[in-house]
C-alpha cells in the first residue's frame, strides 16, 4: 500500500481526516473491502434457508410414515427408506413416468420454440429496417406487463373447440412465444451483432434467411441459451394452466404432484418421494447451468 499511514494523516491533515481514513481502511469502500465474518455468517444462514426445505423433503422421503408421525422434527441423517419410497411412488396409480416424459416434452418444446421465434423477431427488431418497427416493438414491451393468465377462460374454450383439452399441445401452444423473450433478444442483438457482419453476408449474396441463419443466430447464442434456460424452468414449474387443461389423465409433473397429494394424503413419505423426483431434474440443471442463470438475471436486471 502506497497510501500514507493513519498516524501520518493525523499529523498532516488533523484528527477528523485520520478518523475518516481509518474507517475507510477498516470498513473499506464499496466492493473493495474483504467483508467480515458477519457477512459470511448471514449469507450462510440465507443459503441454509434455501437448502433446508429441499433436504427436508429428502429426509421425509427416506423415512417411513410411522417415523414421520413420531418425529415432527426429522433427524438430520436420512433414513434408509429412500429407494423403497421412490419405487412405491413410481409404481403408484399416478403414472409419474408419463408425467416426467410429459414435462420433458412440454418444457423442451416451449424452450426451443420461444428461443427460435424470439431470436427471429429480436433480430428483425434490432437490425432490420421496416415500416412500423417502433410501434410494434413498443407493443411487445407493453404486453410484457399484461397478466395473460387472466385469459384462461376463453383459452380453455378455444382449446376445447380445437379438441386439444387433455393434449400436451394445449400447454405447448400458448407457451410458444413470450414478449419477454422478444424483448430480451432485441436488447442483446442490438449490441452484440455488428452491422458489418450482416452487410458482409449480404454482399456475399446470402439471402435474408441465410444471413439470419449463419450470422445472427451464432451471434445470438449466449443470450439464446439463457432465454432457453429460463423458459425451460418456467415451463417445468408451471401449474395453473396445465392443471386446468390437462386434467388427470395426461399430467405434467406439477399436476401429478397435486394428484399424488389428493390421492395419498396420509402417506407423506410417498408424496415427498414424488417431490424429490420432480425436483431432481431441475437441481441437476441448476448445478450445470446455475452460473448462466445468475448471469442472466443480473444482465436482464441491468437492461430491463
Amino acid at each position: 500500500m502506497s497510501a500514507p499511514s493513519v498516524p501520518m494523516i493525523r499529523q498532516t491533515a488533523g484528527a477528523g481526516a485520520a478518523r475518516a481514513a481509518r474507517r475507510r481502511r477498516n470498513a473499506g469502500v464499496g466492493s473493495e473491502r474483504r467483508p467480515r465474518w458477519l457477512t459470511y455468517l448471514l449469507l450462510a444462514l440465507a443459503i441454509l434457508i434455501s437448502v433446508y426445505p429441499l433436504y427436508f423433503a429428502v429426509l421425509l422421503a427416506s423415512s417411513t410414515s410411522a417415523q414421520i408421525a413420531q418425529n415432527p422434527i426429522p433427524s438430520l441423517i436420512p433414513g434408509g427408506q429412500l429407494f423403497t419410497n421412490l419405487r412405491r411412488v413410481l409404481e403408484a396409480d399416478i403414472d409419474l413416468w408419463q408425467a416426467i416424459l410429459n414435462s420433458v416434452i412440454v418444457s423442451t418444446a416451449t424452450a426451443v420454440s420461444v428461443v427460435m421465434f424470439a431470436t427471429l423477431a429480436g433480430y428483425s427488431f434490432a437490425k432490420l429496417r421496416f415500416r412500423g418497427r417502433r410501434p410494434l416493438l413498443v407493443f411487445v414491451i407493453a404486453t410484457m406487463a399484461v397478466p395473460t393468465q387472466l385469459g384462461v377462460v376463453p383459452l380453455f374454450i378455444v382449446m376445447r373447440e380445437l379438441g386439444l383439452v387433455g393434449s400436451l399441445w394445449a400447454v405447448i401452444l400458448p407457451g410458444m412465444v413470450t414478449a419477454f423473450g422478444v424483448f430480451w433478444m432485441t436488447q442483446y442483438l442490438e449490441s452484440a451483432l455488428p452491422y458489418e457482419l450482416i452487410e458482409a453476408a449480404r454482399v456475399d449474396g446470402a439471402s435474408m434467411i441465410r444471413t439470419f441463419w449463419s450470422v445472427a443466430l451464432p451471434a445470438a447464442r449466449p443470450a439464446a441459451a439463457m432465454l432457453g434456460l429460463f423458459t425451460f424452468i418456467a415451463s417445468w414449474t408451471n401449474f395453473f394452466w396445465p392443471s386446468i387443461v390437462l386434467g388427470t389423465t395426461n399430467p405434467t409433473l406439477p399436476v401429478a404432484l397435486q394428484l399424488l397429494q389428493a390421492g395419498f394424503f396420509k402417506d407423506i413419505a410417498l408424496i415427498m418421494a414424488g417431490v424429490v423426483i420432480s425436483v431432481v431434474p431441475l437441481i441437476a440443471l441448476f448445478v450445470v447451468a446455475g452460473r448462466q442463470l445468475v448471469a442472466g438475471i443480473m444482465q436482464g436486471a441491468i437492461k430491463g
Binding site: A20, G28, V29, G30, S31, R34, P35, T39, L43, A46, I47, S50, P53, L54, F56, I73, F117, A118, A121, S124, K127, L128, R129, F130, V140, P147, T148, Q149, L150, G151, F156, P174, V177, Y195, I198, E199, A200, R202, V203, M208, T237, F240, I244, L253, P254, Q258, Q261, A262, V275, S278, V279, L285, F286, R291, L293, V294, M298, A301, I302, G304
Partner: protein, 353 residues
C-alpha cells in the same frame, strides 16, 4: 483481402452510398441501382421487404391467438351465461359482475389475496435488498453465494408448497414443534386466517427472494464507486451509506421489482391451491385467493361466465395496485434527505447519463 478487388470495391461503393444517406443501414442494401432487372433481383428485393415482417410475425400471430384474443374475449364471456359444458347461453349484461360482487367469498378472496401479497412482497423486497448489499461485498467464492440464494427459484411452487405445508402442519408440523421447544404455544398455521397467510407468503418469499436479490445486486454494481467514497469522507457509517447511497440509487430497480411482484403476487394460485388436500382455500376459505376463486367458479361450479367476470375484476385490481405501488415506491424510495445526499444523488444522476 486486398487481392479480392471486386467485392471490396463493391462494398466500398455501398458504404459511400450509405454515408451519403445517413440513417440508412441494412435494408437499403439492395437499393443500389440494379443494372438489369431480372427475376433474381425482384425476388431479392421482395426478400428484403418482406423478411422483417415474416420474422416478427410468429410472435404476433401466436400472441394474438393465445394472449390478446383470450384476454379481450374474457369480456364477451363475462357478459353471458356460459356453462363449462353447455357453452354459450343468453346475454345477461353485467349480471355476472353484480352477482360476483355480491358474494362474500369474492371479497374474502380479495382480502386474502391482498394480505398474502403484502406479507410476501414487503419482507421480500427488504430481505432482497439487504442480501444484495451483503453479496455486493468483495466476497470469496462469490459465484457460490449467488447460486446459493438462487437455488429455490428452480423449485416448482407446487413442490415448495408440499414441503412447507408439512412443515407448517398445525398438529405435527416441524415449526410448531420447534416453537414448543422454546415454550411458544402452537400456532394455527392452517386454521388461523392471518397465520395461514403468513405461511403462504413464506413460500412465495422462499422462491423469489433470491431472484430479486440478484436483480438488486446488479443494480448495486452499477452504482459509481465515488458516491461511496464521498459518503465515507463525509463520515457516513456503513448503515448510513446503505440508506443514503445504496437505497436511493437502486430506486428504479426497486420500482421494477415492486411492479412485477404486484402483477405476479396478486395472481397467486399454486400455493393456495396446494396448501391443503382439498384445494379450496381452507374450511373457512381463510386462504382462498382470487385466482383460486376464479378456478372454483369456472371449473368446479362450471360457471365460466362468472369466472370471466372475476378475471376482469382481478385485472382491474392489478392495474390499480400496480399504479398505486408505482406512486408509493417512488415516494418511499425518493424521500428527499438532507442536502449532501441530494447533491450526491444529483451527481450520480448526472454521471449515469
Amino acid at each position: 483481402m486486398s487481392t479480392q478487388t471486386p467485392p471490396r470495391s463493391r462494398r466500398q461503393r455501398r458504404r459511400d452510398a450509405r454515408d451519403a444517406a445517413p440513417g440508412a443501414d441494412v435494408a437499403p442494401l439492395d437499393e443500389r441501382t440494379p443494372r438489369r432487372i431480372g427475376f433474381r433481383q425482384t425476388l431479392g428485393r421482395w426478400d428484403v421487404k418482406v423478411s422483417p415482417y415474416l420474422y416478427v410475425s410468429p410472435f404476433f400471430v401466436v400472441f394474438a391467438i393465445t394472449g390478446l384474443f383470450p384476454l379481450l374475449y374474457t369480456g364477451w364471456v363475462s357478459l353471458h351465461d356460459w356453462d363449462l359444458l353447455g357453452g354459450q347461453g343468453e346475454f345477461v349484461g353485467l349480471e355476472n359482475f353484480s352477482t360476483v360482487l355480491d358474494q362474500a367469498f369474492f371479497w374474502k378472496a380479495l382480502r386474502n389475496t391482498v394480505s398474502i401479497f403484502l406479507l410476501s412482497s414487503v419482507p421480500q423486497v427488504i430481505t432482497a435488498i439487504v442480501l444484495a448489499s451483503l453479496l455486493h461485498a468483495n466476497l470469496r467464492a462469490r459465484t457460490f453465494w449467488r447460486m446459493g440464494v438462487l437455488l429455490p427459484y428452480v423449485i416448482a411452487p407446487v413442490a415448495v408448497t408440499l414441503v412447507f405445508s408439512k412443515m407448517f402442519a398445525d398438529e405435527s408440523g416441524m415449526i410448531n414443534a420447534l416453537l414448543g421447544q422454546v415454550g411458544v404455544d402452537p400456532i394455527g398455521w392452517h386454521s388461523s386466517p392471518f397465520w395461514s397467510h403468513v405461511a403462504i407468503a413464506t413460500m412465495v418469499n422462499f422462491r423469489w427472494t433470491g431472484y430479486n436479490t440478484l436483480i438488486f445486486l446488479a443494480a448495486m454494481q452499477a452504482i459509481p464507486q465515488d458516491l461511496y467514497e464521498a459518503a465515507v469522507i463525509d463520515g457516513a457509517s456503513r448503515l448510513r451509506q446503505f440508506f443514503s447511497v445504496t437505497v436511493p440509487m437502486v430506486r428504479p430497480t426497486l420500482i421494477f421489482v415492486v411492479i412485477t411482484s404486484t402483477i405476479g403476487g396478486l395472481q397467486i394460485y399454486d400455493e393456495a391451491r396446494m396448501y391443503d388436500t382439498m384445494g379450496q382455500g381452507g374450511n373457512d376459505r381463510q386462504w382462498l385467493t382470487v385466482t383460486l376463486y376464479l378456478y372454483e367458479l369456472g371449473w368446479r361450479n362450471t360457471n365460466l361466465g362468472r369466472a370471466a367476470a372475476v378475471a376482469w375484476l382481478l385485472f382491474l385490481v392489478i392495474v390499480v395496485f400496480a399504479i398505486g405501488n408505482y406512486l408509493l415506491t417512488r415516494r418511499v424510495a425518493g424521500e428527499p434527505g438532507d442536502a449532501p445526499n441530494r447533491a450526491a444523488r444529483r451527481l450520480a444522476r448526472r454521471s449515469s447519463r
